[in-house]
């Protein structure tokens, strides 16, 4: 399911990678924004507390050095500020004390901070650290000097470092979770799509409209699957109707409604194929041309229903006389043609014709006419003896049939025999 469902162009992406990308962008946004906001808030809080701290440290230092400043006891001043500086006041980078005239009396600084601060200042990062703080040294309500305190900002730097580190850790963790869930989620979405695609393919190839997509746990997808299955059901019933209708149309086009025999076109087509095959294999074929004798009179005397019954009866007899591979057709009002596919000796057709005449010895049932005795005239043509084309064969058989009819009319018996209606 990881592979794209559709053979993709270069710019297509799988659903999973799309989801992963979207999620990653989202967590970048969420984690980034919240971390950065938290870091900024924390830095602001720290910075303001650092500023307050510096105020307290400055005031307390200034209080501690007051007497020393009054007596201009510079070593004592240094001792006082160094004592506070060393006492773990890591937020103080530099302390400078000057008297009221601005003469610097003593300075103190964290060794090792200078270069770092220089670097920070050079890199433009000194915005982080609160600006230097100057407080007056008061004695008896008079300002006898001032103290200048420069912040170190070490805790701010550490906080910033930690903030960035946690941002990275949080992002990594979230990214891992996101990839896991995106994979899972994509699986949930892709598997039904995959099923649907597979079934669609199967239907395309096999036209197996009865296939159905299995149900899905996700509601929307399940709805989609249901709709798809519904569509398949509809298609299935359409397909079925189409097949029935198609079969009906085929039958209508090729079969004669009344007798159930094939029509002229189909017979011609079949005959052409058989002639081609026989030409290659050196086989013989036989074509019979059959006409119902006195059919017009039957129609006139007993009505069309009787005529139709006669045609149906004759067709039934013809079909009954056929062998495997033979084909009978109704090619005109009372004319039938038969293709004999297996001719071993030249008088095989004559035997078929004989059986046909024999089978018609029994009268045929007809409505409003009781039973009618019906006779037929049959013309025979052989391939390749009489003709070697479809039309030639039909024409030869037709001519033979007319010769039979004519000789019957003059009282001569032909080799095909003849029967007149018994009750005419």
């Amino acid at each position: 399911m990881n592979a794209p469902l559709i053979p993709s162009a270069g710019d297509r992406r799988s659903l999973r990678s799309t989801l992963t990308r979207t999620y990653l962008a989202l967590i970048w946004l969420a984690v980034g924004v919240s971390s950065i906001l938290l870091t900024i808030l924390g830095m602001m809080a720290l910075r303001s507390s650092l500023q307050q701290n510096l105020q307290v440290i400055a005031r307390s230092m200034s209080y501690n050095v007051t007497a020393a400043v009054v007596f201009q006891d510079r070593p004592a001043i240094y001792s006082a500020i160094a004592a506070m500086g060393d006492a773990g006041l890591s937020e103080v980078a530099d302390v400078s004390i000057a008297d009221a005239k601005g003469n610097v009396l003593a300075t103190w600084h964290h060794a090792g901070i200078d270069s770092a601060q220089r670097a920070a200042t050079a890199s433009g990062a000194d915005w982080l650290v609160p600006p230097p703080l100057t407080v007056p040294i008061l004695h008896d309500k008079a300002e006898i000097g001032h103290l200048t305190l420069t912040a170190y900002g070490g805790s701010l730097w550490k906080f910033l470092q930690h903030g960035l580190a946690w941002l990275a850790v949080a992002f990594l963790l979230s990214a891992l979770c996101v990839m896991y869930f995106a994979r899972k989620f994509a699986g949930n979405i892709v598997s039904p799509l995959h099923n649907m695609a597979q079934i669609t393919r199967t239907i395309c190839v096999e036209r197996a409209f009865n296939k159905r997509v299995p149900a899905e746990p996700v509601t929307e997808l399940n709805d989609l699957v249901n709709d798809f299955n519904q569509l398949l059901s509809t298609l299935n019933s359409w397909e079925h109707k189409n097949q029935v209708e198609y079969a009906r149309l085929i039958k209508q086009a090729t079969r004669d409604d009344l007798t159930g025999l094939v029509k002229r076109g189909t017979f011609d087509e079949h005959l052409r194929v058989m002639v081609d095959e026989a030409a290659v294999l050196g086989k013989r074929l036989g074509v019979l041309f059959i006409d119902v004798n006195e059919f017009k009179q039957i129609n006139d005397r007993f009505g069309h229903a009787a005529g139709d019954a006669v045609l149906v009866g004759v067709a039934k007899k013809i079909r009954a006389g056929l062998r495997e591979g033979d084909l009978a057709a109704r090619i005109g009002g009372d004319e039938f043609a038969v293709l004999l596919a297996h001719i071993h000796v030249a008088n095989d057709p004559a035997q078929v014709v004989e059986r046909l005449h024999a089978s018609l010895k029994d009268p045929l049932p007809a409505p409003d006419a009781g039973k009618l005795e019906v006779s037929i005239s049959v013309g025979v043509a052989l391939y390749p003896d009489d003709a070697d084309t479809t039309t030639g064969l039909l024409h030869a058989a037709d001519t033979a049939m007319y010769n039979v009819k004519r000789s019957r009319g003059t009282g001569h018996a032909s080799h095909a025999g003849e029967h007149a209606p018994a009750d005419s």
Binding site: Q72, D73, P75, H109, H110, A120, D140
Partner: protein
Amino acid sequence: MSSKPQQFQRNGSSPHAVRLLLALLAFEASLAAGQVVPAHPLETAAQRNAAIASTVTGIISYARWPADPQPIRICVVANPLYAQGLLTGQLDAGRKIVTQEMEIDDPTMPSSCNVLYLGALDEKQRLALIASLAGHPILTISETGPACSAGSMFCLRFERNRVGLQMNLDSIARSGVHVDPHVLLLSASKSRVPD
């Protein structure tokens, strides 16, 4: 100190991020440093007069008398060498100060002086003087004097470029003048100076 920041200083084209990283890395354990800015040496008499005056007013500013005298009267006794600043200068300790010279045997001394600035006295004289002041809240400052052991509360001493201050805590405790402990601390913090 690591050499990385130095490298960074030389290499001005380092990317911004690298600079920031180096700046972050540079926070290491540190040693305290700094300096006592040396003052001008006290060479002339005028400088010494001024220094004495400033020190005495400084002491006064940290002292509180039970009756809160207005003004505070300084009596200069026994011809100290550098009292000129006290006698003529503009004194300012937040309160008004007046200065007068006084004989050592002046009987009004206990009642008319709040501060005695003493010149050179021998042991006997000083003890007699201190005894006569017993029960009066008077701040005594000796311009000279060995080790501040003979009854004076504060003893001044010229060092190379400043006026040193010594205190006799017993005398201060007995005197009835309240001296701010900040001043008292000054005599105890002379050991850890880098120069």
